[in-house]
């Protein structure tokens, strides 16, 4: 006979505790995962160092390049990491398991959003500090700061919506492969490579991508420009991607 008091007494913890504990759980697991740390911090840090040291020889302007790398890091935290972790949560039956707890589906999504925000803030802090220590001197105008403050969270919502759309339908292995491929495509599609670098016929299409919207916003922020157009782009993408994720996401694989 165990000493456990098994008499039924199930009742949910307060909402804030459920969401916070879930967010902390997921954050710990992501931080422990070396592959995801590589994408989130190590690669961007390496790019910043390489860009600062060899940028002049490669023709890379320091201010927009560091901003591009920060955008790339946010892309991995907002898209690649949640896509892969969620796909494996479905594969391992974690989501099926959590359904039979007080953690509501909206709590789980709020927890994931909090996890992404925590990672993005931590990652952006590391990259910004590293850039500043290496001589990065962004020259932002106030109006663009306002634009960036709106664009960054909307971009993260967009990326998370796309991540859940992919992970909510595809198998874990397919998601793993596609998420890494899409990471590279996104890096080339306006994150690391500015839209102005592409042929003029391709630029209007690229400007409609959420990756380009984030990249252009941070580059404008770092170089003293004001460009509010990306705000409209990510607003549209955020609404569409969340609606799509809600429609297609499956909790079991």
């Amino acid at each position: 006979m165990s000493a456990l008091d098994l008499r039924p007494a199930a009742a949910p913890a307060p909402w804030a505790r459920r969401v916070l504990r879930h967010a902390l759980m997921e954050t710990r697991l992501v931080i422990r995962n070396s592959e995801q740390l590589l994408l989130a911090v190590v690669i961007p840090l390496g790019l910043i160092v390489a860009g600062v040291l060899a940028g002049d020889r490669l023709g890379l302007a320091r201010e927009p390049f560091v901003a591009s790398v920060i955008a790339l890091g946010l892309w991995s935290s907002g898209f690649t990491s949640p896509a892969i972790t969620t796909a494996f949560e479905r594969r391992y039956g974690v989501l099926e398991r959590l359904v039979a707890t007080p953690l509501r589906r909206s709590d789980l999504l709020a927890g994931k959003a909090t996890m992404i925000a925590l990672l993005a803030v931590g990652q952006a802090t590391v990259l910004v500090v590293a850039g500043l220590l290496l001589g990065w001197t962004p020259t932002a105008v106030a109006a663009q700061v306002v634009v960036a403050v709106a664009v960054v969270p909307l971009a993260l919502v967009t990326f998370a919506g796309l991540a859940l759309t992919l992970a909510g339908r595809a198998s874990a292995e397919v998601t793993l492969g596609l998420a890494n491929l899409i990471y590279l495509v996104g890096a080339a599609g306006g994150l690391l490579v500015p839209v102005a670098s592409f042929p003029s016929w391709a630029q209007p299409m690229l400007r409609l991508l959420p990756t380009a919207a984030l990249g252009e916003t941070l580059r404008a922020l770092a170089t003293g420009l004001f460009d509010p157009v990306p705000l409209l782009v990510v607003l549209g993408w955020a609404i569409a991607s969340v609606a799509l994720a809600r429609k297609v996401f499956r909790w079991i694989s």
């Binding site: 006979m1 165990s2 000493a3 456990l4 008091d5 098994l6 008499r7 039924p8 007494a9 199930a10 009742a11 949910p12 913890a13 307060p14 505790r17 459920r18 504990r21 879930h22 759980m25 710990r28 697991l29 422990r32 995962n33 494996f88 949560e89 391992y92 039956g93 974690v94 099926e96 398991r97 359904v99 039979a100 707890t101 007080p102 953690l103 509501r104 909790w251 079991i252």
Partner: protein, 235 residues
Amino acid sequence: MPAALTVADVRLSLGGRAVLDGLSLVGEHGEVTAVLGPNGAGKTTMIRCCTGLLAPDHGHVEVLGEPAGTASANARIGLMPQATGAWSGVRPAELLAYLASLYAVALPVSDLIAALGIDEFANTPYRRLSGGQQQLVNLAGAIVGRPELVFLDEPTAGLDPHARRRVWELVRELRSAGVAVVLTTHAMDEAEQLADRVVLLNEGRCVASGTVAELTAEKGLEELFLDLTTPGGSW
């Protein structure tokens, strides 16, 4: 007091195949209901209907007096899944502390770990545990929130006899505490040892039900199982 679980004439097709075909069963508070059936009989699908992950095409499922899948019903149940059910890198102690934190009142995690013999591997990543160790962690996760109704999907699969007996004892304690237990199993002796009521499934239908004594009046439970069910598929 309504039954803890009512499954009434549930039909569900997946991929064009009828997985549940008019299934009905009842689980009462303070009783163990054993659901037996070959692979593919619909046992896990039935549990998924009870947690709201799957919606029946026909019929209804009521959990603790509420429609299956509602947030308030799901907060009062426990689930031990048949396989995995945890992040690969999570440590058992960490997982159980997390699950406990979702409830206003939960079992003390250290006591639960001790009761189920999880101590020795409480800080080992889940992916490195044996199948039996994972089962014990899953069982602990199912009851940490002090549920009124608990679903145990093949709770002793892969366990050694010592661990199996420990799980049986815990199931009996749950019943004594007033918890409704619905367990699926392939093990006839497990059903005979634990069940107040046995439901025998075949191809998504209940083909026999009653107490162990009622069902075994003329022949053994395994013989009855072999007579009334068809060899399992891969569902």
